[in-house]
Structures are given as C-alpha cells and as structure tokens.
C-alpha cells in the first residue's frame, strides 16, 4: 500500500495527485468519502486532479468527460474507456492506496509514448 497523504490535509472537495507512473489521484468528496482513481483521463492527456469534483463524479478539466469515482465508469463522453479504480484505506488518519493490478486505460498519445512510438 502506498501512503498518499493525511486525511486532515485533504479537505472535502479537494484532490491529491500521487506522482507515480501512471499517476493516481485521491479525491475527498463533499460527502466525506475518499476514492482513488487513475489521474489521467482516458480520452486525452489531462489530469483529473484538476477536474470538477461533484458528488461521486469527476469531470475532466479539458473536454468534460465524466467518470464515476466508485466504479471508474464513463458517465459522459468524449471518453469511452473507464479509469482504473484503486482501493483506499484510511488508517490512523493516513490515506493509503492499494494499486490495482489491472492494465490502465491510458489515452492514445500517452500509450504511444510509453510504447516508444511516435507521439
């Protein structure tokens, strides 16, 4: 498990990005729930940590795709593929993330870069 940040340091409505590869973001919803999903929008290279958090949904800051934080499912286009979700554990006031072992759904430009192909 990866320690993310202290719960007390992440106010409701805020997001905290873990700069791992690929990056993961922890969201603290207005209702007090904590979720972790892949930070990169599956449509194009954008950081969901910069997005619009509303309820259990985050809207990509660029093209307004929406993802369900609980399931990673796409709630609104242009994205078509879900983001990975990661298990979150809060222990002694610390948020930990257990990374998913599934393959991430990275956008075409990032996937091409990781594969060493043309950008």
């Amino acid at each position: 498990m990866i320690p993310a940040c202290r719960l007390a340091d992440l106010p409701r409505g805020e997001a905290h990005r873990l700069d791992i590869d690929p990056p993961v973001t922890v969201f603290h919803t207005d209702d007090g729930e904590v979720f972790a999903i892949d930070d990169t929008c599956t449509h194009q290279d954008a950081s969901l940590a910069d997005g619009w958090l509303e309820g259990c949904e985050v809207e990509c800051p660029l093209h307004a795709s929406k993802f369900d934080l609980r399931t990673g499912a796409v709630d609104a286009p242009p994205a078509k593929l879900p983001v990975r979700t990661h298990e979150v554990v809060v222990q002694d006031g610390m948020i930990y993330v257990e990374l998913s072992t599934d393959a991430p759904n990275l956008p075409p430009c990032i996937a091409a870069r990781l594969a060493g192909g043309p950008v």
């Binding site: 910069d50 307004a64 286009p77 078509k80 075409p108």
Partner: protein, 387 residues
C-alpha cells in the same frame, strides 16, 4: 408518450437519445441523421484527426456495446415537420410519426460566395470535410485560412505543425474579439505570429482565383495571397430551413425557452440549431459549443417527457476549449457585457494567463491559457448561484 423522433444524430441528438432512455422513456425511439456516419465527435476534426494522430474509429461517440434500443436512420435528411400529423417528413418521401420530437439538426459551415466548384477550397464541419482537407494538407504548400475564429485558428495550428506555409485572413481588426473581447482576442491570436503564421487583419476577401484549382486569395485592398489550399472558416448557420412553415418559431435558429421548449407543444430543440433563452443575460442565443450539445439535451428531454411541467434546472455557464500550437485555451461564461478584464495569473508574453471578466464587479467569464486547474476553479465559481 409512446414515440419520440430525434432529428439529428450528432452529439446533441445522441445525448438526447441517451437522456430519453436514462429518464425512463421506454417507447419507440427513432434517430434521424443526415450524414451516413454513426455519431462521431467533431472537435478532433480540426486537431488530432486532421493531424493524422487519431483515426476514424477514435471519433466514435458511442461506447462499445452501447444499445439505446433506437431505430437509426442514417443518410436521411428531414425536409419538413407536419404539426397536424405530428410527423417528420424525410427527403426520400417517407415520414416518421411521433408524439414527441427533439430537433437537433445542428449548423452548417458558411461558405464564400463564388467559391463553388474550385478544387482546393474547403470548409470544415463534417467527417467528410475533414477527410478531404486532410488529403489536401498532405500535399503541403501554402494554406490560406479565411477567418481567424476558432476553427480557422485550429486548422492553421494543425497545418503549421504539418509543415505548411500558413496565412490567416481576418476581416475584423482583432480575431476572436466576439467571443473573447478585444484585449484577450489579441493575446490568444498572437499565438499565430509566435509560430510564424501570417495574420492579416482588418481586410476582407474579394474573391478567389484559379482555373480548376484555387491559386490565390484576392483581398479587398488589392493584395493577392498565393494559395495551394484554402479553408473558409467564417462561422456556421443553423440548419432549420426544413422547419419553415411548420409552426416552430425561428429566430437565428429554433427559438426556445430556458428549458428547451419550442413554440409547439411536444417539440424541443437542442444543440447548435437551438437558440435557448439564457436567464443569466436575458436574451436568446445559440450556444455553438460541444458542452452545450452534451448538457442541454438532458434538460430538454425532461421538458419533453413532462409536457413542460419539469422545473428547468440551472444551466452551467457556456464552456468551450480550443487547442492551438500546444496551448490549451479554455473559456467559460459571457464576455459580452463585461466591463473589465483582469489577468489574475501569468503573463500575456508567456501565453499562460488566467483572466477574469467582470461586470459591475461580479465575475462574468474566465479565460485560461494552459491553466486547467485554476480555470476549473473559476469555472465552478461562475456556476455557483449568486450568494
């Protein structure tokens, strides 16, 4: 309501069909699309698709396996609406009868008078337009873009990256002054000259020259700009001719209330063809943005299914984005009517500004260049009800 016809199969039409199903409509659903293609995403047509970075499959708006239990009529143009028979007439002589009708016929690119029949002259609105332009850009050479709006600017940016020699001709003194205001229009359009793309402002186009293929653009002041390819990006007109005489009130598009209702009961309109009343600014206006076509159908469908009894929700301020020369330009709100614009972060020289437009001291709009995080915060604030 047992049958609903959605006229238009792009983002607004697809979103309406999705909203109908998600709001519990389980009757017969017919979606009529003029183009032969399944719903596809248009914003990449001037950017990644035109650049060859993504293909046609990447443009699909439907998810794999998505099934709305709809009857899709593609390659089918609507030619009329019969209010008595509650029917949509089709170009092939058929008609679709429906209790409820969603008008989502979009807009078409305006053209330049006299440009017909000359090879190498393009507009950009549809997938077929984008394919044809992509083929011509692959020839290289000199591109002249007529119109310095967002489509023109994005095509110029893409063509520049492909190695073409690019000139933009803009009739106004400042490109984008309409949507962004003079000061910010100047800053955003300065991206062109940063990259060696020529920007000729304050001059109109007299005509095009060429025998079978375009060879030059002739300007009002007598200048001749040589061209191998020309893109005309001078705006769009709503596709509502088919509604003339139908009883649906038209005024620069379909005139709608703040909940999407038209002058006919059981008929709503969404997307680029629809001119909704905007209570924030007190006027009807067409919002030709992707996000409007995505968000508003939900409200319009609620109106349709409740026969107008649904309480209209509060719409978010209009939002759009543009990608030019690697800079992400984002805008939300209304620039018209703002009495001040201040740069809150960044500097114009670095093309990384966050600017806030205010009217009587209250934020009315926000512009971001490469500032997605801060932009989203301001966008949320703009959408919050006045405190």
């Amino acid at each position: 309501m047992r049958t609903v016809a959605v006229v238009g199969a792009s983002l607004a039409g697809l979103s309406a069909a999705r909203s109908l199903r998600s709001q519990g409509f389980d009757g017969q659903l017919v979606v009529i699309g003029e183009e032969p293609h399944r719903p596809y995403d248009r914003p990449p047509l001037s950017k990644e698709f035109l650049a060859g970075k993504i293909g046609e499959a990447d443009l699909a708006l439907e998810q794999d396996g998505e099934d709305l239990a709809a009857e899709w009529l593609f390659d089918t143009r609507a030619t009329g609406l019969d209010r008595e028979r509650r029917a949509v007439r089709l170009a092939d002589g058929r008609e679709v009868r429906a209790d409820g009708i969603v008008i989502a016929t979009g807009a078409a690119a305006r053209t330049l008078p006299g440009a017909d029949g000359l090879a190498g002259v393009h507009t950009l609105r549809t997938l077929d337009d984008a394919r044809a332009l992509r083929d011509d850009l692959a020839l290289g050479g000199r591109l002249v873009v007529i119109g310095g709006g967002f489509i023109g600017a994005e095509v110029a940016s893409t063509a520049y990256a492909l190695g073409l020699d690019v000139t933009i001709v803009e009739a106004a003194q400042t490109p984008l002054a309409g949507p962004l205001g003079e000061a910010m229009g100047r800053i955003v359009s300065a991206l062109h000259e940063d990259h060696g793309v020529r920007l000729l402002c304050g001059v109109g186009v007299k005509g095009l020259s060429g025998e079978t293929r375009v060879s030059a653009v002739l300007l009002d002041d007598g200048r001749v700009v040589p061209a191998d390819t020309v893109v005309v990006g001078v705006g769009a007109r709503p596709c509502v001719e088919w509604l003339e005489g139908s009883g649906v009130a038209l005024d620069d598009g379909v005139k709608c209330g703040a909940d999407g209702h038209t002058s006919l009961a059981g008929v709503v309109a969404v997307g680029d063809c629809a001119s909704w009343y905007d209570p924030r600014v007190g006027v009807h206006r067409r919002v030709e943005h992707w996000t409007g076509a995505r968000e508003r159908p939900d409200a319009a469908v609620a109106t349709l299914l409740s026969w107008g009894a649904a309480e209209p929700g509060v719409l978010r301020p209009p939002y759009f984005w543009s990608d030019q020369y690697g800079v992400k330009v984002q805008f939300a709100g209304h620039a018209a009517g703002a009495d001040s614009v201040t740069i809150e972060e960044g500097t114009p020289e670095d093309r990384d500004v966050l600017a806030v437009y205010r009217r009587a001291g209250r934020p009315a709009a926000v512009l971001g260049m490469n500032r997605p995080r801060l932009f989203t915060r301001w966008r949320k604030q703009l959408a919050a009800p006045p405190s």
